[in-house]
């Protein structure tokens, strides 16, 4: 659990234990969509700095809402804590976990600066999270 997670609102007291499919739907939006969007919406001719900045926002400021700022890692950990962990063992969960790990692995390079980020690989890794969420969700259906 990192600091970003602490800025989140607690679950609404009146909400019932969440349905795993509902959790995945939220994850698809919060993590799947917003992890991919900043880089996907870059113009084709974006500079290295623009790509790096978009990747940083995608990973570290994935959701900036009135209820707080959450990074991709915090969103994933919140998903596990809220009930997503119970899906461990279901077909498709391992693929999702691996996809998330690959995406989060870019954090170091994004934070450290240095060489340019390979945009195609970045897009592929970020998009894979969304695809894995969708695949797991379809299996639950």
């Amino acid at each position: 659990m990192n600091e970003e997670l602490l800025t989140m609102n607690p679950p609404h007291p009146s909400s019932a234990p969440p349905d795993p499919r509902e959790l995945l739907a939220d994850l698809a939006h919060d993590l799947g969509k917003y992890l991919r969007m900043p880089v996907a919406f870059l113009p084709a001719a974006a500079s290295d700095d623009e790509v790096r900045d978009a990747a940083r926002r995608a990973l570290l400021e994935t959701r900036v809402t009135p209820t707080g700022t959450r990074g991709a890692r915090a969103l994933w950990e919140a998903f596990l804590a809220e009930g997503g962990d119970a899906l461990r063992g279901r077909e498709g969960f391992d693929e999702l976990e691996r996809a998330v790990a690959r995406a989060l692995a870019w954090e170091t390079r994004v934070r450290d600066g240095g060489s340019a980020l390979e945009r195609p690989a970045l897009v592929a890794d970020f998009s894979a999270v969304s695809a894995a969420i969708r695949a797991l969700s379809q299996r639950l259906d």
Partner: protein, 592 residues
């Protein structure tokens, strides 16, 4: 029945246009409604052709209530709204989604709640909803939101897709939901029809328009297709539901005196009358099969030979063929020649959807019709009288308040208040008479309400409230004539490739068939001849009885009476005038 109109020389501008975006050289203003900053950043950083609106210095509005409140004050400053779907906001900032009891889902589909309100308050404001279409379908069960032409669903996540969606929405919005006296509304099908008619107006190729009675086929043909065509000749209508079979050929092609029994004078055919103009043939499926071949030849050769004439006449006519049933069905049943059908251009036919399939536009239509009806010559003096009594100016416009949750009208306007039950009844009605029925009902609501208010004033009752409440019972009364027809009916098919089963159709243009009434007897009544001082007085008395009986039979619908008596529902004013001349007062008849 032939009617002929001089070429239109100018637009009939009754009202200022809605919020047509100023699409000149300045950048379109984009308001982002999103709980996050992502889309605002995309617009600001990567879409330089757009200008990001920054309410109170903020890059976006973060929840529904804030967005709606701001838009109510500043909608004129916005050309398009980019609206997110998922809003992770405090509970008190959520707009309700009645069918979503779970808070989680209310947040996830909050964009739909906001979109509904925007559609309600600002129907012409284009909105690009940032979600996948399959997500929208989860909450937009009846598809009405998705079908609104001002609503675009972003189904991809890349810059070019977003750019294309925004551009399409802005282009469409620049056309507006109405044009002169044509009410297009926001349904996507109508936008497509509009584009298609604009293309089809060019040249002289024939056009097929299909649609149920009252959908406005002739209106569209004259006010849009003919007007856009730039043709210099007249717009001529031939209504084949009102022409005896044996006379169809002479109406179409003309006839010389003595060419057949009953041809007592030379008669010009409609092709000749419409030379260099547009010929609207209504209920074309009624052309007798033996005349269809001649019609085909005229269309091919562009020459017409009046009956009994030795020579042909060159004609340059754009033919618009209308039918209230799929012509393909008449072809399949052997009632209509396939070669003639093909000549009319079935591939580009236009099918106007019935009103019940675009009820999302009902509030917009109701608002516009009420405002216009109040300015009708017969209503305007009453409206001015009532407005003055309420402390407004004589020119105060009339707005309508639709149900409990509608936005209050501006303080300078007279309000026609439709109580919640009345609005519910109107919203649930299936409108078998389509736009004609809606026009009729709304006109009557305005007229009856104004008359009641004026009567009250003249009786010495003080009337200071600018809100005039509609009699709920009157709404039911006005709808009762068509409620027996409310059973769902098959619509004309949307695609030429897949004709739907034939709907039940009136055999009379524009007249909604009455239940359990013999069509042949619908204009037949018993009247009592009473001895009076003169033949003229007897004739007037008979006419009064006839008009009164007709009024009762058609539930006070003057358009339908005009249809029966004059063959044209648009001539209802002539019927009202005749009523006045005969001393028949509508407000008195209503109570009888």
């Amino acid at each position: 029945m032939v009617s002929m109109h001089a070429p239109m020389t100018g637009a009939v501008a009754e009202l200022p246009p809605l919020q047509v975006p100023r699409m000149s050289k300045r950048k379109p203003n984009i308001l982002v409604v999103d709980d996050g900053l992502t889309y605002a950043r995309v617009v600001a950083d990567h879409l330089p052709e757009l200008r990001l609106v920054t309410p109170d210095g903020q890059p976006c509005l973060r929840d529904g209530p804030s967005a709606l409140a701001w838009l109510d004050r500043h909608v004129d400053e916005v050309d398009l709204v980019l609206l997110d779907m998922h809003f992770d906001v405090p509970d008190e900032k959520l707009l309700p989604l009645p069918n979503e009891p779970s808070l989680r889902r209310q947040k996830r589909f909050q964009g739909v709640a906001i979109l509904r309100e925007i559609r309600h308050r600002h129907p012409a404001l284009p909105v690009v909803l940032l979600t996948a279409e399959q997500d929208l379908s989860l909450v937009d069960v009846d598809g009405q939101l998705a079908a609104q032409s001002m609503t675009y669903v972003l189904d991809g996540e890349d810059l070019d897709t977003l750019r294309i969606r925004i551009n399409a929405a802005l282009q469409e919005a620049s056309q507006g939901l109405e044009e002169d006296d044509l009410l297009w509304g926001g349904h996507r099908a109508m936008a497509a029809i509009r584009r298609r008619l604009e293309v089809l107006s060019r040249g002289s190729m024939p056009v097929i328009i299909e649609g149920e009675t009252g959908t406005g086929k002739s209106f569209l043909a004259e006010r849009y297709l003919h007007r856009k065509s730039g043709r210099k000749g007249a717009f001529v209508t031939l209504d084949l539901s009102a022409v005896p079979t044996e006379l169809v050929a002479s109406h179409l092609f003309g006839a010389l005196r003595g060419s057949f029994t009953g041809a007592v004078a030379d008669r010009k055919g409609v092709f000749e009358l419409a030379h260099h103009g547009t010929l609207f043939i209504d209920e074309i499926q009624n052309v007798p099969i033996e005349v269809q071949k001649q019609l085909l030849v005229v269309l091919q050769e562009r020459k017409v030979r009046p009956i009994g004439a030795a020579r042909e006449i060159d004609v340059d006519v754009k033919v618009v063929a209308a039918s209230n049933q799929p012509l393909a069905l008449a072809v399949a049943e052997g009632r209509f020649r396939q070669d003639l059908y093909m000549r009319l251009g079935p591939a580009t036919r236009v099918v106007i959807p019935p009103l019940r399939e675009r009820l999302g536009d009902l509030p917009f239509f109701a608002r516009r019709i009420v405002t216009r009806a109040a300015e009708d010559p017969e209503n305007a003096p009453l409206k001015a009288e009532v407005a003055r009594a309420a402390g407004l100016t004589s020119e105060a416009p009339m707005h309508v308040l639709l149900g409990r949750s509608d936005t209050p009208p501006p303080s300078h306007a007279l309000a026609l208040v439709l109580p919640e039950p009345a609005w519910k009844v109107l919203s649930a009605h299936r409108w078998p008479g389509n736009m004609r029925e809606l026009h009729s009902v709304m006109h009557h609501l305005v007229a009856f309400t104004l008359v009641a208010a004026a009567d009250a004033l003249r009786s010495g009752m003080p009337l200071k409230n600018p809100r005039l409440q509609v009699d709920v019972g009157l709404v039911g009364e006005l709808l009762s004539a068509s409620q027996a027809l409310n059973a769902p009916r098959a619509a004309a098919p949307a695609s030429p490739a897949a004709p739907a089963p034939a709907p039940v159709h009136s055999q009379v243009r524009g007249v909604t068939p009455l239940p359990a009434v013999d069509t042949d007897a619908r204009d037949t009544f018993l009247v009592k001849v009473r001895p009076l001082g003169s033949l003229n007085a007897v004739a007037v008395d008979v006419e009064r009885q006839y008009f009164f009986a007709l009024y009762k039979r058609f539930g006070g619908d003057f358009a339908r009476m005009a249809e029966v008596l004059l063959g044209d529902p648009a001539k209802e004013r002539a019927i009202r005038l005749r009523f006045n001349q005969m001393g028949l007062k509508v407000r008195e008849l209503r109570g009888r």
